[in-house]
């Protein structure tokens, strides 16, 4: 038990009589064309509690958040906030009722200052009706201070780090005097220290009597923080339990409806010939005080090997993979050798031609073609194999895609279903399948399991392991250390653009890696 949970309970024993539940859902149903996103959802959240909501992607968590925040209107059922039945027609209504949402994808205007964002839509005015930047900056400074956020109120929001942006959202919630704060996977893009700071902020909110609804995949933080845990699956409420009465294994079991092995069962792989060698790779960053994105990186990769790249946000993991793939800036120095031959790619096309493939970190922004169907998304790199007399052959393309979909285990009702209708895990499998069609020797995976549910993660691990056994060399980055520890043969650690350590599978531990990543 954390100290703050005691506090909050004490505070709220008084209130409990007046408002039995902070949030009370009864039989909430939400349908979208072809899908029931939430069905007969009932949920009680006690005032002042930290209530975690867990579920795989597609379990209905986001729909739940969107109904609470007034983005969606439920098709059936009732929603009570503080004992009063409400119908939110917009997010404004929800804010007025004291519900603030910290969305997974932050909803800040990057071109405006921090203070302007905090007071967006509720700007303070002077007696003459002019906008009162001074008063807003002053109040904003106080709010940020209380959150340990060392950011000037007049700083441009777009220039902040993700962790600070999130605190700006929380400052906004505080300025709204929200009694209920909903956080949708807030730590998915945070460093360890930022996560710790967020946890302290949460403790402060709870001490003020705020109710927190916390949506997360991460069992560790859920079990560290939560009073009660609700599990959703396939749009339905599975159960709500006290944290003390359950275990992470039980929760993940309810989430997927079955027990999953924590780690993929992988026997030792036999390392093959060397595929890639990088010597003294440096990448400049002139506009930044550090001066470089990558400094003096040397590494090697063999066939049948998974090289893990660990590092905090901003350590240069993505830049390293992008440089290898020819997708980043081309002003790097050093040597990249492919099977002994020096290469310099100026465009991803050239990397493809040398049988390198890369699955980017941000699937939605860098990977998916939302207007193409599943087949179009999978075949885009291998269309030349589906040509018949110079024209695309539908059947040829379908055959190609069907093979890839089978190999990666994509679950889709049709090869021609809309891409955006698939779950995150299936979308990721499609993108990996897209690259497997190019028969790469080297596969670069940039945080491939980000935003993917537990079941799909396990399937992806098995797929990566199998590809590796078939002779591919894989470079894998991940924000989750257990993932690297269980998959990689070797792990290199980046910190602020430098390579600070290299561990073999046997040597590596979470503690050693974290020490190298922060040092």
């Amino acid at each position: 038990m954390n100290h703050h949970t005691h506090d909050s309970h004490d505070n709220h024993d008084v209130k409990k009589h007046a408002a039995p539940h902070a949030v009370c859902m009864r039989g909430i149903t939400k349908r979208f064309p072809g899908v029931v996103a939430l069905e007969d959802m009932s949920l009680d959240v006690r005032p002042g509690e930290f209530h975690a909501i867990c579920g795989e992607n597609g379990a209905g968590k986001s729909t739940l958040v969107n109904i609470l925040s007034g983005v969606y209107q439920p098709d059936g059922g009732t929603l009570e906030i503080g004992g009063a039945v409400v119908r939110f027609a917009s997010t404004r209504d929800a804010e007025r009722a004291g519900v603030a949402i910290i969305h997974q994808e932050l909803a800040l205007v990057e071109e405006l200052s921090v203070a302007a964002n905090v007071f967006l839509g509720r700007e303070k005015r002077t007696a003459l009706g002019w906008i009162d930047d001074r008063a807003m900056a002053a109040e904003c400074a106080l709010l940020l201070d209380s959150l340990e956020c060392r950011v000037a109120p007049d700083a441009l929001t777009g220039h902040l780090r993700v962790g600070d942006q999130q605190l700006v959202e929380i400052a906004k919630a505080l300025s709204l005097d929200a009694s209920i704060v909903v956080m949708d996977e807030p730590t998915s893009a945070l460093t360890e220290s930022e996560s710790a700071r967020l946890e302290r902020t949460i403790a402060k909110l709870l001490a003020r009597g705020t109710t927190i609804l916390y949506i997360s995949h991460k069992m560790a933080e859920v079990f560290r923080l939560a009073d009660r845990i609700t599990v959703l699956r396939d749009g339905r409420h599975v159960r709500t339990v006290n944290r003390a009465d359950t275990s992470p294994e039980e929760i993940t079991g309810w989430m997927v409806g079955r027990k999953i092995a924590d780690r993929p069962a992988s026997g030792p792989r036999v390392r093959g010939k060397q595929l890639l060698e990088v010597r003294n790779l440096c990448l400049e960053w002139p506009e930044h005080p550090r001066g470089y994105r990558l400094a003096d990186i040397s590494l090697s990769l063999c066939a049948n090997e998974i090289l893990g790249v660990a590092g905090l946000m901003g350590a240069g993991r993505t830049e390293l993979l992008e440089t290898l793939f020819g997708a980043g800036q081309s002003n790097w120095t050093g040597d990249i050798l492919l099977e002994g031959r020096r290469v310099r790619f100026l465009h991803p096309r050239e990397a493809c031609d040398h049988r390198i493939a890369m699955v980017s970190e941000d699937r939605k922004r860098l990977g998916l073609f939302p207007d193409l169907d599943v087949a179009g998304n999978v075949s885009v790199c291998a269309l030349h194999e589906a040509l018949h007399w110079g024209l695309l052959s539908r059947s040829g393309e379908d055959a190609l895609v069907a093979g890839s979909v089978r190999q990666t285990g994509v679950k889709t009702s049709s090869l021609h279903a809309p891409m955006m209708g698939l779950s995150g895990g299936n979308q990721q499998k499609c993108i990996i399948g897209r690259w497997l069609l190019t028969r790469p020797d080297i596969l670069l995976l940039d945080d491939p399991t980000r935003g993917i549910d537990v079941g799909a993660k396990a399937e992806l691990y098995a797929l990566i392991d199998q590809l590796c056994r078939e002779g591919m060399g894989v470079i894998l980055t991940s924000s989750e250390l257990p993932e690297l520890l269980s998959l990689a043969d070797r792990i290199i650690v980046l910190a602020e653009g430098r390579l600070t350590a290299e561990f073999s599978r046997a040597e590596a531990t979470e503690a050693k890696i974290m020490a190298a990543a922060t040092g």
């Binding site: 209107q73 465009h347 922004r365 990977g367 998916l368 073609f369 269309l383 009702s413 090869l415």
Partner: protein, 407 residues
């Protein structure tokens, strides 16, 4: 998710919205046949058909170019000026190669005509190259790059025309008459532009649906960064798209010269770029890129011209007076109707809050003004009153369905 059959296959021939558009064309033609006091569709069907076909083909040719550019995620605002430049290049090339015949309104010979037409298409290629260079290498937004050429090319065409005429003829002029029999034949035989339009539509359709390039165009328009990371040479795809856009406009420019027997850079094709974009949008293209079809644009172009023709037949004033108004209304209606289903599901309202309240008299005044100009003040007042009542009822109905807010 329940297993269901493969309901995502390509639909039969046309998509649903395209069938609806085809139906709308039939309805518009039927209404015109009924309401036209002269019954010109019944009495002179061939002449009416020829009229619509010519206008549709001329619009459709460069609307296909606009479609490709829009699907690739760009926009080409310069098509109208490209039409003017193409005509001017064609006419001045003929003037340079055969000044005596041109001034004497005599045939210049097929070789000269061929060279002149090729020069026009080359000009289109160069303008397309300029666009894609400005956009990919300089990094200008497509809107800015083609806005610059929209104003710049027309001025350039006029300067070209004036300097060519002052050098090659006794008097400086802002237009060049074209009297070669080749252009007369094209003008007199409406099926030539229609055939060119048909062939071009088939080629464009093949490119977009059955080639790697076409798939890359859709991918580029849908997500440019993802396309680059998938190894697509996005700058080359854009180069093709903008060249295709400019060259179809150049081709259309040749037909305008034939139609009007003159190359007139000051006014030829003025504002036509917006009609082309309108045809593409009515046909289902999304200006966000990645979405659109050739059959859609073809139907969109036909629909626009049929409605313009209908209005000119029913209201006995010059069609050109109302052309812009019709295009504007048709675009708004087409895009709105495409969204009505979604709006109803999302609980969105057509006339929400105080903005909706002000929109009611705005729309009523607009409809009243249009009707009173075309059918007299009394009808106008009636139309205004009727719209006021109808929109008010619509708003009341919307509000009764979903309470504005519980707070």
């Amino acid at each position: 998710m329940p297993p269901h059959q493969d309901s995502f296959r390509q639909p039969f021939l046309l998509r649903r919205s395209e069938w609806a558009l085809a139906l709308a064309i039939v309805v518009a033609v039927g209404l015109t046949a009924l309401l036209d006091a002269n019954h010109s569709y019944a009495t002179r069907p061939l002449e009416s058909l020829r009229d619509i076909a010519r206008n549709t083909a001329l619009l459709g040719i460069f609307a296909l170019g606009a479609t490709v550019v829009i699907i690739a995620g760009g926009i080409d605002l310069s098509a109208g000026s490209m039409i003017a430049l193409s005509g001017t290049v064609c006419a001045t090339t003929m003037l340079a190669l055969a000044p005596v015949e041109m001034m004497g309104f005599k045939p210049v010979g097929p070789a000269v005509v061929a060279v002149a037409c090729a020069a026009s298409l080359l000009a289109g290629f160069l303008v397309g190259t300029l666009h894609s260079w400005l956009i990919t290498s300089i990094g200008l937004p497509p809107f800015i790059a083609t806005l610059a050429t929209l104003v710049g090319l027309r001025s350039f065409a006029r300067a070209l025309c004036e300097s060519a005429t002052s050098a090659l003829t006794p008097t400086k002029s802002a237009l060049v008459n074209v009297a070669d029999p080749f252009f007369k034949t094209v003008r007199d035989n409406v099926w030539i532009p229609v055939a060119v339009f048909g062939v071009l539509a088939c080629i464009t359709w093949l490119i977009l649906t059955r080639t790697v390039l076409g798939r890359h165009i859709a991918a580029l328009g849908g997500n440019e960064q993802a396309a680059r990371l998938a190894g697509i040479r996005t700058e080359n795809v854009k180069w093709f798209a903008y060249c295709f856009g400019a060259m179809t406009a150049a081709l259309a420019g040749l037909f305008y010269v034939a139609n009007e027997s003159v190359a007139a850079p000051v006014n030829q094709g003025r504002g036509h770029e917006l009609n082309a974009i309108a045809a593409a949008v009515v046909g289902g293209c999304s200006l966000a890129g990645g979405v659109g079809t050739v059959p859609g644009t073809v139907l969109g172009a036909i629909f626009l011209r049929v409605v313009i023709d209908a209005v000119s037949k029913i209201i006995k004033t010059g069609a050109d007076v109302y052309e812009g108004l019709i295009v504007g209304i048709v675009v708004v209606m087409a895009v709105t109707l495409g969204q009505v289903g979604q709006m109803a599901k999302g609980g969105r309202k057509l006339l929400p809050g105080s903005l909706g309240l002000c929109a009611i008299p705005t729309l009523a005044i607009l409809s009243g003004a249009i009707v009173s100009m075309t059918a007299g003040p009394r009808a106008g007042a009636a139309a205004a009153g009727a719209s006021l009542v109808l929109l008010w009822l619509l708003r009341a109905w919307e509000n009764s369905r979903t309470p504005a807010s519980s707070m």
